[in-house]
Structures are given as C-alpha cells and as structure tokens.
Symmetry: C2
Subunit: 245 residues, 2 copies
C-alpha cells in the first residue's frame, strides 16, 4: 500500500464544487471514478481545498491509498484519457503514509480576477468578474494591507461557516492591474468559508470609493459579516496552489 498525492487543475464552471455530492458532477467524483477505472480499486480521496461551485484551481491537492503497480509519477498521464477535459491531474507523486493534504501547514495562494473593461469579454467570462466602472487599484491594494497578519476574520466569513474558530493568518495580499485584469492575490495559512470572495467584494467597494482603505480596520474589528462587502461571484476565484517551501 502506498499513498499518492495528486496536484489537480480544473475549470470549475461545470462542477458543483470539489467535494463529493450525490447526484451532481463534482471534481472529487470525477477523479474518484477515473482512479477506480485505472486501478480497479475502491478509491477514497482526501482533498486539500473544498472549492465551491464555479471556483477554479491550478493547484489543488488530493491524496489516496492504493496497492496498484502504476508508478506514482505516472498517474497524471495515465488519467488523461479517463478524465473530462475540464479536469487534469498536473502531477502525481508518492508521499509518506502519514501525509494528510489538510495538515501540511503549507500556505496557499488564491487569485481573484476582475476584468475592468467597458464591455464584457466572452472569452474571459468563465474566469473573471466583469466590472465596467473606474476602480482605484492603489486604494484597493492599500486597503488590503490591513488584512495581513493574524486576525479574527468573522467579518469576512460566511454566516454559514461551520469553523469553530475564525482566526486566520494572511501572509501576503496584493492588488495589481495587469492589462485589462485586476488581480487580487492572497496567500494565507488557511481561509474561512467565502473569505477570499468577501475580501474581493469589499475591495471592490474600496475601488469604487464607497469605502476608504482606513475603513478596513473597523470592518475587521466589528466581527460582523454585514459590515464587509458582498461575496464576489465565484467565477473570478482561482486556487493557484500551495507553497511547499
């Protein structure tokens, strides 16, 4: 028996999120099915991030145990013909039997993409949020810096969250214009339910001038979801990956 770790990329548009759910198309469901076809075994996957419906990933992680003789690093290529085109295993490797994808302590980075153009772009509609008005990217970046460090992020957490604690650490956050796109990048040790999307929605309010960068401190301190901005739409969110160093 050995434990295999997969690095997984997907276009989340047509998945009902990562986590297995009866009767709907999920990343975990498609991946388990393909692995069972490949190995002939019952496969139980453990995912690192349970991304929501419509959210994308370049570097989500999932592990499973197998007695298969497929060489560990061959799983990625061997799964290509068994997976749908919107889901690819980027790499595969053997890890120790103690490895758990949610207990690595590896920081992860999300990107939220805003397409800031007068007109929408049909080719980017699945992977960005379109916003046509003027946005002050410098103010958004400045506001975001209030979130770095360890805080109680209750204001930036869905009221439906089941997390027992709301304390999380953001290592780094930046807001930058890149051609027609505004990229919000957040690296942290863990994120609450909808946290990055609420941060994006709140930074949009800063961009339009509805909020000032200095308002971020009071929003954080309030520990009240109603004080932050809206939950930005899922299609702009991409889990870029985990930093293993």
């Amino acid at each position: 028996m050995k434990r295999i770790l997969l690095t997984v990329a997907y276009d989340g548009t047509e998945f009902h999120g990562f986590a297995l759910q009866e009767g709907v198309r999920t990343v975990e469901g498609e991946l388990s099915r393909a692995l069972q076809e490949l190995t002939g075994e019952e496969i139980e996957l453990t995912g690192a991030s349970r991304t929501d419906t419509g959210v994308h990933a370049y570097g989500n992680l999932a592990s499973f145990d197998t007695a298969s003789t497929v060489p560990p690093e061959r799983f990625a290529l061997a799964l290509d013909p068994l997976l749908p085109e919107d889901l690819r295993v980027i790499s595969s490797e053997e890890v120790s039997m103690e490895f758990h994808p949610r207990k690595t302590g590896w920081p992860k980075t999300y990107e939220y993409r805003i397409l800031n153009t007068e007109r929408p772009d049909p080719l980017l509609r699945r992977t960005s949020l379109h916003y046509r008005g003027a946005l002050d990217v410098k103010a958004m970046h400045e506001a975001a810096q209030a979130l770095t460090g360890t805080h109680d992020f209750t204001s930036f957490c869905s009221v439906h969250s089941l997390s027992p604690t709301r304390e999380r650490t953001i290592h780094e956050i930046s807001v930058e214009r890149d051609g027609p796109l505004i990229r919000i990048r957040v690296t942290g040790s863990g994120f609450l339910y909808h946290m990055v999307r609420i941060i994006a929605g709140t930074l949009l309010d800063v961009g339009t001038g509805r909020l000032q960068p200095s308002d971020m401190y009071a929003i954080l301190e309030a520990r009240d979801r109603a004080r932050a901005g809206r939950t930005a739409e899922p299609q702009g969110l991409i889990l870029l990956g985990y930093d293993r160093t």
Copy 2:
C-alpha cells in the same frame, strides 16, 4: 431606414460557427433573434467573417438595416440582456447605406494560440491548442515570413473551398512566445477556407523540426494542399479584428 454596424465578440466553443444554419446554434442565429426581439422587425444580418465551429472572435463585424428608433450606438448595451453570455456586441454605430462588411478592404488579423506546456491547462483548453513538445519559435517565425506578400495559397487552402481564386495577400505574420503561449498573428486582406489553421499546422511542423523554414517556398509553389501541414484544431483560432485605418 438606417444601416447599423456591430462589432461582435464570442466564445466559439458552443456555436456551430457564425453563419446561420437551420437547427443548430450559430452566432448569426442568436444575434438575429436578439435583434428581432429588440426591434420587433425581421432582421437580415450580413456578417464579415463566417468563422467555423469552435473558432472565436473579438472583432467580427455584422451589419443590418432597421427603422428602429434605438440610437445606433445603444444597440451594444441594449442587446446585453437578450444575448447569451458567450456572445457580446462590443460596439454599434451607424454606417452609410452603401456599407458592406465584406467589401471594406479592411485588413483583418487572426491569432492562433498554442499552449506549449508539459501538461494541459483546463482554463485555457477552450482558447488554445495544447502542444507539449519542444517548439523552435524562432524557426516558426522565420518560416512564416515566406508567406508574406501576394501568393497563390492553394497549398494552404481546404480542398473543400469554393473560392474561385486562391490568390491572397498576407501583410504581416509573426510567431512569438508569450509566457506559456505561442501566438501566431496573421494580418491579411482576406483568407481562404481553413487558411490560418493550415498555416498554424504547418508552422507546428517547422517548430518540431519536421520541416525547415526554407521548405515553405516549395510548399507554396506546389499549390497542393497535401504538401502543407495539418489543419490545426479550431479552438486555438481567434479573429482579433479588422484594421479600419
């Protein structure tokens, strides 16, 4: 009565091409339906480029005549709620009653995108061709230069083409690496059926070393479709637009 010109962008993945066809979803079909809903008139569209199934556009053109009182430049926004998300009118304007989208003489530019990475990218699969092997981009660019100018492009034209003449002019062509993408850009006064995709397929053969840049002259002179490379897949092709200057 006035004539309106639309600049149209679409994700071609789920369209059976631009041109109206009974019983299938086409760009012209969706656009005509939306215009009829908006104006209450029977609308007959004239498109500039009849792109194929799976081919995308940022700047295709289409014109129609209307007695509607909608201000000419308002059509773009007014059509947003009536069109599917994979099709947008970028801008609209009044043109003279003599204007014909296929008789402007405006050069147009296509881009063919090759994603040259070890592993496929689910987020770029709809808008690029994935090729994992090494490609000599400098050789591809050099080879492409043989195509500039006015030539008989029979070797780079589908045998199913109905064009009476096979002479066309390429003003400019370039092959450049842009991060993980290789972009082939071709500007010309007109293109034969499948011409840009056959050019892309042939340049791929140059990139792998199967053909030398100097082979391009003999391929052109042969006036034989069988001498050029394959017709590269449609999803890598994007009509960037027309140069009105």
